[in-house]
């Protein structure tokens, strides 16, 4: 084989590989918790440190200390959960053991998480809107594209009251980039990078892992029987029934 034929074959193969359709992520996925003897290669990498700017770090640490103190007293402080308000993005992506359903179409990828039936819509191959044109909300505006076998999602427009990973604060200037890819046929990683020039000293990254749940039917979640309330001291209490 002469060198020109070899070069042609190499380029043709590279092109063919590039033209491969993206993997199909459709289906139901549950948070992956490695058990004993699990393959360490499947574990998500450790998160990078969250470094808040000083004026945000102080109230954040104070709130965390107050929460710890309240939990020790047995009187947890109220959160959005007491009002049964959904988590919003990105916290919705990791709620206890609740699964998430991905519906993949060429033009749109839809992610439905089971707790609170939260919905994200990712518009494929579209330019992102300027942040200031997105009304701040729980899910913001997400656009996606395929980078080889990796789905890259860019999200802006998350409301400041929707707390982030580890309940971190953020500004309306926050931008979240996800890189989602199959590690094996049945294991998915979502690498989440949070940038916020107002609140963060530098971006931080954490990765969530999910395992495929074949044949799982998503369960509805309507918060109709919320018995939690805040008492006059701001502690979470449970409403009791009489006979």
């Amino acid at each position: 084989m002469n060198i020109r034929v070899a070069a042609f074959l190499l380029l043709w193969c590279a092109g063919a590989a590039h033209a491969q359709p993206p993997p199909d992520l459709s289906g139901v996925w549950a948070p992956y918790r490695p058990g004993r003897g699990a393959d360490p290669k499947l574990n998500p990498p450790a998160p990078t440190p969250i470094v808040l700017k000083a004026q945000y770090a102080k109230p954040y640490e104070a709130r965390r200390a107050a929460e710890d103190e309240a939990i020790k007293r047995g009187e947890p402080l109220g959160t959005a959960a007491v009002q049964c308000v959904p988590y919003g993005f990105p916290r919705m992506m990791a709620v206890a053991l609740y699964p998430a359903e991905i519906i993949q179409r060429q033009a749109q990828i839809t992610i439905i998480t089971e707790a609170f039936s939260e919905v994200r819509r990712v518009y494929m191959n579209q330019p992102q809107l300027p942040i200031d044109e997105v009304p701040p909300g729980y899910y913001g505006h997400s656009v996606g594209k395929w980078d080889g076998d990796t789905l890259v999602i860019d999200t802006v427009g998350i409301k400041e009251s929707v707390l982030g990973y580890q309940n971190t604060p953020h500004s309306t200037q926050m931008r979240i980039t996800e890189r989602i890819r199959l590690i094996t046929a049945d294991l998915l990683h979502d690498q989440i990078t949070v940038e916020d020039p107002v609140v963060l000293e530098k971006p931080f990254t954490y990765t969530l892992a999910y395992r495929r749940m074949p044949n799982y039917k998503m369960v509805e979640f309507v918060c109709e029987n919320n018995r939690e309330y805040l008492d006059e001291k701001g502690a979470v209490k449970m409403k009791l029934r009489e006979r």
Binding site: P76, E220, R227
Partner: protein, 139 residues
């Protein structure tokens, strides 16, 4: 529960177990802190179900529990959500009004008659836990 039905077969036990009774599984269950419950204590009680509410964000068992003298006290017992319970093998038909059941719960720290389910022995004798990885659950 009418007091007459109550007295014969049901009794109230109060057991306190410390040490090992700190449940790592609790954060997996749901959407709020469990600090209002005393997870270092377990109380066992038997009674008659007045309502089984298969609802979000939590499932509840309402239970009439008679004491030795037949006086009935009403308890509200919190469980995980339907999704989390189903992942542990529960069905919405596992408990019904008028069932006689035994529950183990972590009581409210406030001393009020409420608690968080640890296990329920349902009418066919199965012992169901309060989420995956607990008694009766799937890992």
């Amino acid at each position: 529960m009418r007091a007459g039905q109550a007295g014969l077969t049901t009794r109230l036990y109060v057991g306190v177990l410390c040490g090992a009774a700190v449940f790592a599984a609790h954060p997996l269950l749901a959407h709020h802190s469990f600090a209002m419950f005393d997870t270092a204590k377990r109380v066992t009680m038997s009674g008659t179900v007045t309502a089984f509410e298969w609802t979000n964000p939590h499932v509840y068992i309402e239970l009439d529990v008679p004491d030795e003298k037949g006086a009935v006290k009403h308890w509200s017992v919190e469980l995980g959500s339907p999704s989390i319970l189903m992942q542990a093998g529960w069905k919405f038909t596992d408990v019904k009004a008028n069932d006689k059941i035994t529950v183990v719960l972590n009581p409210l720290r406030s001393g009020e008659a409420g608690g968080l389910l640890v296990t329920a022995t349902v009418r066919d004798g199965r012992v169901l836990g309060n989420g995956p990885g607990r008694v009766g659950g799937q890992p």
